[in-house]
């Protein structure tokens, strides 16, 4: 396997095959990232396409201090955020009151219960994330999965730290409720 620095060198020399190999190496992983930020596969592929164009364009700016995958992933996340900023002119982040709990469990549900998540697959969880409102989805992804701090999220999304925390709170609550309802549905079917 050609190491990343060699691939980058090949790309910078304008070798088409190096570009293709770079894409081939990271495209599937990055589409997985984009899927978490998108509502569906078509949107995720749009983001992936934009992201890779940015990667190829800015490859000379990669300093090779961190991993190439991490760098590409950050570009994908930023591209996804930009994508939804452009799409929703009114802003991604809705107030707490505007979001209705789709399962109607309310804020004071069964919060102390254990999370019945044993039978959940990655596809199930991906579907749950994709159903979140755009702002919730992005903040939850950035905080819970990518590991960004609220400060970084706030700067990236141009929001306050409190808004970031609020969005995360709501996202978690919605996801939890969906998981609980799903387990109840399964139990009833049995």
């Amino acid at each position: 396997m050609i190491p990343d620095p060699k691939l980058i060198e090949g790309c910078l020399q304008g070798k088409r095959k190096a570009y293709a190999l770079l894409y081939k190496r990271y495209a599937a992983n990055m589409l997985g990232v984009c899927m978490r930020y998108g509502r569906n596969l078509a949107e995720a592929e749009d983001v992936l396409q934009e992201g890779f164009i940015k990667v190829f364009t800015n490859l000379d700016k990669f300093r090779q201090e961190g991993s190439l995958e991490g760098w590409i992933r950050r570009i994908m996340v930023n591209t996804a955020v930009d994508h939804y900023h452009k799409q929703t002119k009114e802003g991604l982040f809705v107030s707490l009151e505007e979001i209705k709990d789709p399962h109607g469990t309310g804020e004071h549900g069964e919060e102390d219960e254990d999370l019945p998540a044993a039978d959940l697959t990655a596809d199930d969880l991906m579907e749950m994330i994709q159903r979140l409102p755009d702002g919730y989805r992005i903040v939850f992804n950035m905080y819970a999965i990518e590991g960004y701090s609220h400060q970084v999220i706030a700067e990236t999304l141009n929001i306050s730290v409190n808004t970031s925390k609020t969005q995360l709170f709501k996202a978690r609550r919605m996801l939890r409720n969906v998981i609980l309802h799903r387990s109840l549905d399964h139990a009833n079917k049995r």
Partner: protein
């Protein structure tokens, strides 16, 4: 509460970290089109696969070269047998006329040329190295009988040859015969001559005519033994000579690319193939030009100012009567126009030209006088040389802001394929044959760049061609 929240984070992080989905081919195509990736031309001379292909061709060429001379072994054997007789040492005590020494091999030349004209196992059996159980064999006859009979034959042959060759130095011939008669009256010399005759692979009667004493014949013994082994080994090759042939072939194929578009796309390959057959094994290689058809996909965006609906307008009139006691109502339909945006997909026909280098190994399992059947299989390197794309025929003149986006999958520059075929060959003449070969071609991966998922294509075709046999 905080732990519960962390559990959700952990659950999603663990399950979705490393989540992978293979993107569709169009993503890479769009990147290529938008980023303007360097197009260094479809064919890269120093591409590793090209080098491997060139090495395969070179290997096939060397193999052909090594096998090729074997088809002329029968001529070499004939010449060699003549050389063998010509190099016999002259008798030390006799000073013969040079023409006398030359004439004797001329007799054997008849045998050699006859052997050349009628090659084959049956001819091998007819050579005089049969076991000495034939009562007419000269080995069982008495020395005087054999010598006299051979002399009779040789003298008549010599007379004919000397006349043909334009010299008739009869005294010299007579002198030569008298020397031979004298030699074969010596019993010791006869024993050595017998031994030598057994060793001689062609059983040449000339051996018995060689003048010389017993020691001279013993000296020749080792030399004959070596020549015998050489000739025997060549005889083995001679029985099954390698057959070299070259021909022009035409291979129409129908390829399933598994793209969900048209089920099968057609392609045509013109090939110049050379093959070598040694016993039942066939080695075949050459060059081919393949032209493949495939769909081109274009997304066409445009807008049109057109009627999107209608409304009913009502009007009335009183017919010029100043007294409005009656009104005539009329109802009209009016169109509502607006700019409508369209997004359509167009399919076009693209043609791709490939240089193909097959290397097939085959087995001939049935050989008739005219017909032969064989199975051939092997890899084929396919190099994209040219692609010809056609624009979509978008003819809506009312359309505005027309943009076309090429979403045709980008093809790889080189491909490895595996071909297998069952060939039927019919020999028209000794030199010409025609062949018909249903073939199956399996691609090792998809032909589109940036996509390793999905089923690799396969082709079905019939190779037809005419070959010349050397």
């Amino acid at each position: 509460m905080k732990n519960e929240r962390d559990k959700i984070d952990d659950l999603f992080r663990q399950k979705l970290e490393g989540y992978q989905i293979r993107p569709s081919v169009k993503v890479w195509n769009n990147i290529v089109n938008r980023f303007s990736l360097p197009h260094a031309g479809p064919f890269h001379l120093l591409n590793m696969q090209n080098i491997i292909g060139a090495l395969l061709l070179a290997g096939a060429g060397v193999t052909t070269y090594l096998l090729w001379p074997a088809s002329k072994v029968h001529e070499t054997v004939a010449v060699n047998s003549m050389e063998m007789n010509l190099t016999y040492p002259a008798p030390p005590q006799q000073d013969l006329h040079p023409q006398a020494v030359y004439q004797a091999p001329a007799i054997n030349q008849e045998n050699s040329s006859a052997q050349h004209e009628h090659p084959g196992p049956s001819n091998q059996n007819s050579q005089p190295d049969d076991p000495p159980d034939n009562p007419e064999s000269p080995l069982l006859a008495t020395p005087s009988q054999t010598a006299s009979e051979d002399l009779m034959k040789s003298s008549s042959s010599e007379a004919k040859l000397t006349e043909d060759q334009g010299f008739s130095d009869q005294p010299v011939i007579n002198e030569f015969k008298s020397i031979e008669k004298e030699q074969f009256n010596n019993a010791a010399v006869w024993d050595d001559a017998q031994n030598l005759k057994k060793l001689s692979p062609l059983g040449s009667p000339f051996v018995s005519y060689q003048p010389g004493n017993a020691s001279g014949l013993r000296m020749m013994d080792d030399r004959h033994r070596m020549q015998d082994e050489r000739i025997r080994s060549r005889k083995a090759d001679y029985r099954v000579p390698a057959q070299f042939s070259a021909g022009i072939h035409f291979l129409p194929e129908w390829t399933n690319y598994h793209t969900g578009a048209a089920a099968f796309q057609s392609s045509y390959t013109q090939e110049l193939l050379a093959s070598v057959q040694l016993r039942n094994i066939i080695l075949r290689t050459g060059l081919g030009i393949n032209r493949s058809q495939d769909d081109g996909n274009y997304q066409v965006n445009y807008s049109k100012y057109e009627m999107t609906g209608y409304y009913i307008g009502t009007s009335f009139e009183n017919g010029g009567n100043p007294v409005y006691d009656s009104l005539n109502y009329s109802v009209d339909e009016h169109g509502v126009y607006d700019t409508v945006y369209y997004n359509e997909m167009y399919r076009t026909d693209n043609t791709y030209t490939y240089l193909q280098i097959p290397l097939h190994i085959g087995y001939s399992f049935l050989n008739d006088r005219r017909f032969s059947f064989s199975v051939t299989a092997g890899p084929c390197l396919s190099l994209l040389m040219n692609e010809k794309k056609s624009d979509p025929a978008f003819m809506d003149f009312a359309a505005q802001n027309v943009t076309m986006q090429d979403q045709t999958p980008v093809r790889r520059h080189s491909e490895w394929q595996f071909q297998v075929g069952i060939s039927t060959r019919y020999l028209i003449t000794n030199r010409l044959s025609i062949a018909l070969e249903p073939t199956y071609r399996q691609y090792f991966r998809t032909v589109y760049e940036g996509s390793d998922s999905g089923w690799p294509p396969y082709s079905l075709g019939i190779r037809a061609g005419i070959s010349f046999h050397f």
